[in-house]
Symmetry: C2
Subunit: 406 residues, 2 copies
């Protein structure tokens, strides 16, 4: 089940980027579970990665390779995360890169590996190395939909978006895909995101954009507060567009491109929440009037992670006391209860430390019955604002996660 | 459903403390939902309270009254928390104290109010003030069992324990009751605890013991990471025992009494976890080898609050990768993955950043199938140790909390 998430299949191709896929049979025998991206010589690549201390072998290698040289290939498998596999798992991920590098005559450091799936099991290396040549045989610029399906794990639907825009006579394209449905929290999640544009962008500027937009999108979603060992989001600029290279943040094109990319980042991040495990609601938690962004985020996440708030959302129960209690137990010091107002969409539920005078159960329940709603918290202690997106906690979440390995 | 929690009904009476109860009909018409404690003139009282910024009116008043004068009465209602009720709710709680004070001819500040139940609704004051005289009519030292039932909310069983010990020819008694089953987290929870002994103890020492033991017991349990607006734990020393007053921590009796009380505090705190909403397992999370206690607690709570760990526990699934990922996403900096060992009871599941060589799925599953188990995490970076107690996350948890108000 997902919340207002439709299958996206009209991708613009990104010149300078080809996609291949094949069936390695890692966890399921019939899935196209191996995806390869091939980048033009003119491409630059940026990435952000999980902050989990137990970050998986492919994450360690991708981070290192990204620093060392120009990226030419990305290779992604689903079904097995190659995390918690120690030194042998690290060697496995490196061997995958080497297999692809040998097949294409490139340096091993120009290949970035990505894995998602079960933690703690060794990769079936024979299956994966056998499937790489198959993937390389069918490389095509028009395979974004297949790629979006190829990287799914517990996702119920593939996730992607695509856009085009004009600037000074040139047409630019952006396409992106993401995956992830549980183990989702700030600082990345069991999520992978791949966004590409044909613009030509210097590596420094691309990395800066990737960091900034990742912070505003993938690092603002939470389903269950758990973060994964494998999260990675890659931003690729293939550089084959005729427009000149973007090398300066003062160039007007910088803002234009960033705005377009931001919509894609946020769409892909929100798609992960919409497909949250067991999700029946898509909830925006907006916290404003804080002394600084850290405390706004702290409050937003405390509400977003509260099992009591989440089960009330599942029940469509306007149990505003649970929201109030969650705000009250955040780490923010010296909260002045009387200064706080809390709204469900436009309905004021709390003011002056108590239920709002104007509040009616009917008005609150009407908002809670919606499948998309916002919880708006005004702290009255400053100007800082943050938003996070989350879901409810349903029976299906428990079923999905109690049964995942069986 | 509860985990190895049996009804305790053999309470030692505590001389110098009488209990009365009556039916106010606050939420359910047939419950004895109002309980009054009456303390001897020789009694001292200590308390610890919720740290939630939205602490309820009765908590604000109890904290203030406890500072102002000697406590003579405690009045506890279930069914309504009188939280999030603003200034009118504050006046309601004060009026309850005044009603009881007038009936007994004592000062209003010698009465401490406690409430538990739904947040955000005004108390039915007519019903409560009408029920107070009834409660005062049947005061009796032998009503601990009735009190343990009177303070229940979503608890499936009443919670209490009682003990006696000898010291230098005197026999001392301790009895205690607690309530709470959800919204349970460090820094207190939707829990109430009342522990009494007939020993004579100075107020300063009693408060010091209450703080120390509260930290080791009620502040080390978590069910869902939510803390309530009403949590209170009161320690009463009626002082009617013939033994001399305890006024000095260097007195050998200090250690003897504290050890006896510690068992009672921990038993009552664990009883709350055993009766955790939807609980099918009782889990001790032991973290040792940390640089300091704060990081040991941070790791313990990150694991204890992980919905993925909790659903794996519910499924009896030895999905150790989820434990490892939770440790990795704690706030502890510079974690050295290779130094960490994780055990389920005595079964080593993780070492050197990967699944332990000796681990077998059979051995892990055997531990996970138990209804009581421990997750033991050795960080290898110091000497600090902490333990927290928690439960799994089951379908029943969702059902209970999605349906609570309906």
């Amino acid at each position: 089940m997902s919340v207002n998430l439709s299958v996206f299949d009209a991708f613009h191709q990104i010149n300078g980027l080809k996609i291949g896929f094949s069936n390695a049979g890692i966890k399921q025998t019939e899935r196209q579970d191996l995806v390869v991206f091939e980048l033009a010589d003119s491409a630059t690549t940026a990435g952000i990665f999980t902050q989990n201390a137990f970050c998986a072998a492919p994450v360690q290698i991708s981070k290192a390779h990204l620093q060392q040289t120009r990226t030419q290939y990305l290779v992604i498998n689903t079904g097995n995360a190659n995390a918690g596999t120690g030194a042998p798992g690290y060697q496995d991920a490196l061997d995958i890169c080497q297999t692809l590098a040998d097949a294409k005559g490139v340096d091993v450091t120009s290949v970035l590996p990505f894995s998602t799936g079960v933690i703690g099991e060794r990769l079936p290396m024979d299956k994966i190395t056998a499937a790489i040549p198959d993937a390389l045989k069918n490389m095509d610029a028009n395979k974004w939909f297949e790629a979006s399906r190829g990287i799914m794990t517990t996702d119920t639907l593939p996730k992607g978006t695509s856009t085009q825009f004009e600037y000074q006579g040139n047409t630019f394209s952006i396409s992106g895909i993401s995956k992830g449905a549980g183990m989702i929290k700030p600082n990345m999640a069991t999520m992978l995101g791949f966004i590409a544009t044909d613009a030509k962008v210097s590596k420094e500027i691309l990395q800066s954009i990737c960091l900034e937009l990742g912070e505003k999108s993938f690092n603002r979603i939470t389903i269950d507060g758990d973060t994964s060992t494998n999260d990675s989001c890659m931003l690729i600029a293939t550089g084959v567009n005729d427009a000149p290279e973007l090398t300066d943040k003062n160039d007007a094109f910088y803002g234009v491109l960033k705005d377009q990319l931001e919509k894609v980042f946020i769409c892909l991040a929100q798609a992960i929440v919409r497909d949250g495990e067991g999700a029946t609601k898509f909830v925006s938690i907006n916290v404003n009037g804080c002394a600084n962004n850290a405390e706004a985020l702290d409050i937003a996440y405390t509400v977003a992670h509260s099992p009591l708030v989440k089960t009330a959302l599942f029940a469509s129960d306007a149990n505003w006391g649970r929201i109030l209690a969650a705000v009250g137990r955040s780490n923010v010091k010296d909260i002045k209860v009387d200064d706080i107002q809390i709204y469900l969409d436009e309905v004021c539920i709390v003011e002056n430390g108590a239920r709002a005078q104007s509040y009616t159960e009917e008005a609150g329940s009407a908002v809670m019955a919606q499948d998309e709603l916002s919880i708006n918290i005004h702290m009255g202690r400053g100007d800082a604002t943050e938003t996070v997106w989350t879901t409810d906690l349903s029976h299906d979440y428990v079923s999905i996660n109690a049964d995942y390995r069986s």
